[in-house]
Protein backbone atom coordinates (compact mmCIF):
# COMPACT_ATOMS: atom_id res chain seq x y z
CA UNK A 1 0.00 0.00 0.00
CA UNK A 2 2.88 2.35 0.72
CA UNK A 3 4.30 1.65 -2.74
CA UNK A 4 1.02 2.53 -4.38
CA UNK A 5 1.00 5.87 -2.64
CA UNK A 6 4.52 6.72 -3.81
CA UNK A 7 3.69 5.70 -7.36
CA UNK A 8 0.68 7.96 -7.25
CA UNK A 9 2.70 10.93 -6.03
CA UNK A 10 5.46 10.73 -8.60
CA UNK A 11 2.95 10.30 -11.37
CA UNK A 12 1.10 13.36 -10.14
CA UNK A 13 4.09 15.69 -10.34
CA UNK A 14 3.90 16.40 -14.08
CA UNK A 15 0.23 17.18 -13.64
CA UNK A 16 0.86 19.59 -10.81
CA UNK A 17 3.25 21.39 -13.12
CA UNK A 18 0.76 21.45 -15.98
CA UNK A 19 -1.86 23.09 -13.85
CA UNK A 20 0.15 26.29 -13.95
CA UNK A 21 0.05 26.53 -17.75
CA UNK A 22 -1.81 29.51 -19.18
CA UNK A 23 -4.26 27.33 -21.07
CA UNK A 24 -7.51 27.34 -19.18
CA UNK A 25 -9.00 24.26 -17.64
CA UNK A 26 -12.07 24.72 -19.74
CA UNK A 27 -9.99 24.74 -22.95
CA UNK A 28 -8.28 21.57 -21.92
CA UNK A 29 -11.60 19.93 -21.20
CA UNK A 30 -12.92 20.88 -24.61
CA UNK A 31 -9.92 19.32 -26.30
CA UNK A 32 -10.96 16.04 -24.79
CA UNK A 33 -7.64 16.31 -23.46
CA UNK A 34 -4.82 14.44 -22.31
CA UNK A 35 -1.65 15.89 -20.98
CA UNK A 36 1.75 14.43 -20.59
CA UNK A 37 2.59 11.93 -17.92
CA UNK A 38 4.43 8.67 -18.48
CA UNK A 39 2.48 6.08 -20.35
CA UNK A 40 2.52 2.33 -20.05
CA UNK A 41 2.68 0.02 -23.03
CA UNK A 42 -0.48 -0.69 -24.98
CA UNK A 43 -2.32 2.41 -23.84
CA UNK A 44 -3.35 5.16 -26.19
CA UNK A 45 -4.62 8.61 -25.46
CA UNK A 46 -8.12 9.17 -26.65
CA UNK A 47 -10.09 12.17 -27.70
CA UNK A 48 -13.68 11.68 -28.78
CA UNK A 49 -13.59 8.12 -29.99
CA UNK A 50 -16.12 6.47 -27.76
CA UNK A 51 -19.75 7.41 -27.18
CA UNK A 52 -19.10 8.11 -23.54
CA UNK A 53 -16.55 10.74 -24.55
CA UNK A 54 -19.36 12.97 -25.71
CA UNK A 55 -20.72 13.06 -22.21
CA UNK A 56 -17.27 13.80 -20.90
CA UNK A 57 -17.14 16.92 -23.06
CA UNK A 58 -20.45 18.08 -21.64
CA UNK A 59 -19.11 18.26 -18.14
CA UNK A 60 -20.33 20.94 -15.83
CA UNK A 61 -22.78 21.95 -18.45
CA UNK A 62 -26.42 21.31 -18.81
CA UNK A 63 -27.42 18.13 -20.55
CA UNK A 64 -30.62 16.70 -21.87
CA UNK A 65 -31.51 13.12 -21.00
CA UNK A 66 -34.35 11.21 -22.60
CA UNK A 67 -35.71 8.43 -20.43
CA UNK A 68 -38.19 5.63 -20.86
CA UNK A 69 -41.86 6.23 -20.12
CA UNK A 70 -41.89 9.54 -21.99
CA UNK A 71 -39.74 11.39 -19.54
CA UNK A 72 -37.05 13.95 -20.15
CA UNK A 73 -34.59 15.54 -17.84
CA UNK A 74 -32.60 18.71 -18.15
CA UNK A 75 -29.95 19.07 -15.58
CA UNK A 76 -26.36 19.78 -14.80
CA UNK A 77 -23.89 16.93 -14.84
CA UNK A 78 -21.96 17.38 -11.70
CA UNK A 79 -18.36 18.37 -11.48
CA UNK A 80 -16.26 20.15 -8.94
CA UNK A 81 -13.97 22.76 -10.43
CA UNK A 82 -11.95 22.81 -7.26
CA UNK A 83 -10.92 19.18 -7.66
CA UNK A 84 -10.19 19.74 -11.33
CA UNK A 85 -7.86 22.66 -10.84
CA UNK A 86 -5.88 21.04 -8.08
CA UNK A 87 -4.91 18.22 -10.33
CA UNK A 88 -4.39 20.00 -13.61
CA UNK A 89 -5.22 17.82 -16.57
CA UNK A 90 -6.47 14.28 -16.73
CA UNK A 91 -5.54 11.17 -18.54
CA UNK A 92 -8.02 8.84 -20.12
CA UNK A 93 -6.86 5.72 -21.86
CA UNK A 94 -8.28 3.04 -24.05
CA UNK A 95 -8.03 -0.51 -22.84
CA UNK A 96 -9.51 -2.94 -25.31
CA UNK A 97 -12.14 -0.59 -26.63
CA UNK A 98 -13.35 0.74 -23.26
CA UNK A 99 -12.74 4.29 -22.17
CA UNK A 100 -11.09 3.78 -18.87
CA UNK A 101 -9.90 6.33 -16.34
CA UNK A 102 -6.37 5.61 -15.29
CA UNK A 103 -4.91 6.15 -11.90
CA UNK A 104 -6.06 7.69 -8.73
CA UNK A 105 -6.37 11.22 -10.11
CA UNK A 106 -8.52 10.11 -12.98
CA UNK A 107 -10.68 8.19 -10.58
CA UNK A 108 -11.27 11.33 -8.60
CA UNK A 109 -12.25 13.24 -11.70
CA UNK A 110 -14.35 10.38 -12.95
CA UNK A 111 -16.19 10.39 -9.69
CA UNK A 112 -16.90 14.03 -10.01
CA UNK A 113 -18.24 13.55 -13.49
CA UNK A 114 -20.91 11.55 -11.75
CA UNK A 115 -21.81 9.00 -14.38
CA UNK A 116 -20.63 5.51 -15.12
CA UNK A 117 -20.65 3.01 -17.98
CA UNK A 118 -24.24 2.01 -17.21
CA UNK A 119 -25.23 5.64 -17.63
CA UNK A 120 -26.23 5.87 -14.00
CA UNK A 121 -25.74 9.56 -13.35
CA UNK A 122 -26.13 12.29 -10.82
CA UNK A 123 -27.64 15.53 -12.01
CA UNK A 124 -28.09 18.83 -10.24
CA UNK A 125 -30.88 21.40 -10.61
CA UNK A 126 -32.93 18.98 -12.64
CA UNK A 127 -36.13 19.68 -14.44
CA UNK A 128 -38.17 16.57 -15.17
CA UNK A 129 -40.73 16.69 -17.97
CA UNK A 130 -43.34 13.93 -18.18
CA UNK A 131 -45.39 13.79 -21.36
CA UNK A 132 -48.79 12.11 -21.41
CA UNK A 133 -51.20 11.79 -24.29
CA UNK A 134 -54.86 11.67 -23.51
CA UNK A 135 -57.42 10.77 -26.14
CA UNK A 136 -60.74 12.47 -25.83
CA UNK A 137 -63.54 9.87 -25.97
CA UNK A 138 -65.82 11.90 -28.14
CA UNK A 139 -63.62 13.80 -30.49
CA UNK A 140 -60.74 11.28 -30.52
CA UNK A 141 -58.50 14.22 -30.27
CA UNK A 142 -55.07 13.71 -28.74
CA UNK A 143 -54.25 16.03 -25.92
CA UNK A 144 -50.58 16.17 -25.13
CA UNK A 145 -49.91 17.18 -21.57
CA UNK A 146 -46.56 17.81 -20.00
CA UNK A 147 -45.89 17.85 -16.30
CA UNK A 148 -42.77 19.49 -14.99
CA UNK A 149 -41.07 19.39 -11.65
CA UNK A 150 -37.67 20.37 -10.37
CA UNK A 151 -35.41 18.38 -8.10
CA UNK A 152 -32.19 19.84 -6.69
CA UNK A 153 -30.06 16.72 -6.79
CA UNK A 154 -31.01 13.48 -8.47
CA UNK A 155 -29.48 10.06 -9.06
CA UNK A 156 -30.79 8.49 -12.28
CA UNK A 157 -30.49 4.75 -12.81
CA UNK A 158 -28.92 3.99 -16.16
CA UNK A 159 -31.33 1.33 -17.35
CA UNK A 160 -34.01 3.97 -17.84
CA UNK A 161 -31.82 6.21 -19.98
CA UNK A 162 -32.38 6.25 -23.72
CA UNK A 163 -30.16 9.11 -24.77
CA UNK A 164 -27.93 11.83 -23.42
CA UNK A 165 -27.19 14.96 -25.36
CA UNK A 166 -26.14 18.58 -25.00
CA UNK A 167 -29.25 20.66 -24.33
CA UNK A 168 -31.50 21.15 -27.33
CA UNK A 169 -31.83 24.76 -28.37
CA UNK A 170 -35.56 25.39 -28.38
CA UNK A 171 -36.58 28.15 -30.73
Amino acid sequence: MGCARIRYCSWALPFLFYSSLPRSVKWRKKQGLVEGGHSMASEEESTVKEPLDLIRLSLDERIYVKLRSDRELRGKLHISIRVWESYGGYHVVNHGGNVFPRGLLSNLLWLKWAYDQHLNMILGDVEEIITTVEIDDETYEEIVRTTKRTVPFLFVRGDGVILVSPPLRTA
Binding site: S69, L111, F155
Partner: protein, 93 residues
Protein backbone atom coordinates in the same frame (compact mmCIF):
# COMPACT_ATOMS: atom_id res chain seq x y z
CA UNK B 1 -18.55 0.50 -8.02
CA UNK B 2 -18.50 4.25 -8.32
CA UNK B 3 -22.08 4.86 -7.28
CA UNK B 4 -21.88 2.09 -4.73
CA UNK B 5 -19.14 4.11 -3.00
CA UNK B 6 -21.18 7.25 -3.43
CA UNK B 7 -24.24 5.75 -1.79
CA UNK B 8 -22.17 4.30 1.04
CA UNK B 9 -21.23 7.86 1.91
CA UNK B 10 -24.90 8.81 1.93
CA UNK B 11 -25.93 6.21 4.52
CA UNK B 12 -27.93 7.93 7.24
CA UNK B 13 -29.23 10.67 5.01
CA UNK B 14 -32.85 11.03 4.07
CA UNK B 15 -33.54 10.19 0.45
CA UNK B 16 -36.58 9.69 -1.71
CA UNK B 17 -36.53 6.66 -3.98
CA UNK B 18 -38.83 6.78 -6.97
CA UNK B 19 -39.53 3.39 -8.46
CA UNK B 20 -40.34 2.46 -12.02
CA UNK B 21 -43.95 1.86 -11.04
CA UNK B 22 -44.17 5.53 -9.98
CA UNK B 23 -44.19 4.74 -6.27
CA UNK B 24 -42.03 7.22 -4.35
CA UNK B 25 -40.71 6.30 -0.92
CA UNK B 26 -38.97 8.67 1.45
CA UNK B 27 -36.75 7.20 4.13
CA UNK B 28 -33.37 7.12 5.75
CA UNK B 29 -30.76 5.26 3.75
CA UNK B 30 -29.72 2.30 5.86
CA UNK B 31 -27.52 0.41 3.45
CA UNK B 32 -26.71 -0.22 -0.18
CA UNK B 33 -24.92 -2.99 -2.05
CA UNK B 34 -23.02 -3.49 -5.29
CA UNK B 35 -26.25 -3.90 -7.26
CA UNK B 36 -27.50 -0.63 -5.76
CA UNK B 37 -30.21 -2.51 -3.88
CA UNK B 38 -31.33 -0.11 -1.16
CA UNK B 39 -32.56 -0.59 2.37
CA UNK B 40 -34.55 2.27 3.81
CA UNK B 41 -35.66 2.85 7.37
CA UNK B 42 -38.63 4.75 8.77
CA UNK B 43 -40.21 5.03 5.41
CA UNK B 44 -43.07 7.19 4.34
CA UNK B 45 -44.71 6.81 0.97
CA UNK B 46 -44.87 10.20 -0.73
CA UNK B 47 -48.45 9.99 -1.96
CA UNK B 48 -49.97 7.64 0.57
CA UNK B 49 -53.56 8.19 -0.47
CA UNK B 50 -52.72 6.81 -3.85
CA UNK B 51 -50.50 4.01 -2.53
CA UNK B 52 -51.89 2.71 0.75
CA UNK B 53 -50.02 -0.59 0.34
CA UNK B 54 -47.25 0.27 2.74
CA UNK B 55 -48.98 2.02 5.61
CA UNK B 56 -47.71 -0.51 8.13
CA UNK B 57 -44.22 -0.87 6.73
CA UNK B 58 -41.37 0.77 8.65
CA UNK B 59 -38.29 -0.53 6.85
CA UNK B 60 -37.96 -1.87 3.37
CA UNK B 61 -35.56 -3.46 0.93
CA UNK B 62 -35.73 -2.18 -2.62
CA UNK B 63 -34.25 -4.16 -5.49
CA UNK B 64 -31.86 -1.94 -7.38
CA UNK B 65 -33.30 -2.73 -10.80
CA UNK B 66 -36.72 -1.26 -9.97
CA UNK B 67 -35.35 2.14 -9.01
CA UNK B 68 -35.93 4.98 -11.44
CA UNK B 69 -34.55 7.89 -9.42
CA UNK B 70 -33.06 8.55 -6.04
CA UNK B 71 -33.61 12.12 -4.90
CA UNK B 72 -30.63 13.09 -2.83
CA UNK B 73 -30.23 15.72 -0.14
CA UNK B 74 -29.29 19.05 -1.75
CA UNK B 75 -26.10 19.44 0.23
CA UNK B 76 -24.90 16.26 -1.44
CA UNK B 77 -21.66 14.81 -0.33
CA UNK B 78 -18.48 16.52 0.68
CA UNK B 79 -15.75 16.31 -1.94
CA UNK B 80 -13.22 15.15 0.64
CA UNK B 81 -15.33 12.17 1.61
CA UNK B 82 -15.48 11.21 -2.04
CA UNK B 83 -11.71 11.52 -2.28
CA UNK B 84 -11.26 9.12 0.62
CA UNK B 85 -13.74 6.67 -0.84
CA UNK B 86 -11.91 6.69 -4.16
CA UNK B 87 -8.56 6.34 -2.49
CA UNK B 88 -9.82 3.34 -0.56
CA UNK B 89 -11.15 1.85 -3.73
CA UNK B 90 -7.96 2.46 -5.68
CA UNK B 91 -5.99 0.74 -2.95
CA UNK B 92 -8.31 -2.23 -3.07
CA UNK B 93 -8.09 -2.62 -6.87
Amino acid sequence: MLFFSYFKELVGKEVTVELKNDLAIRGTLHSVDQYLNIKLENIKVVDDDKYPHMLSVRNCFIRGSVVRYVELPPDGVDVDILHDATRREARGS
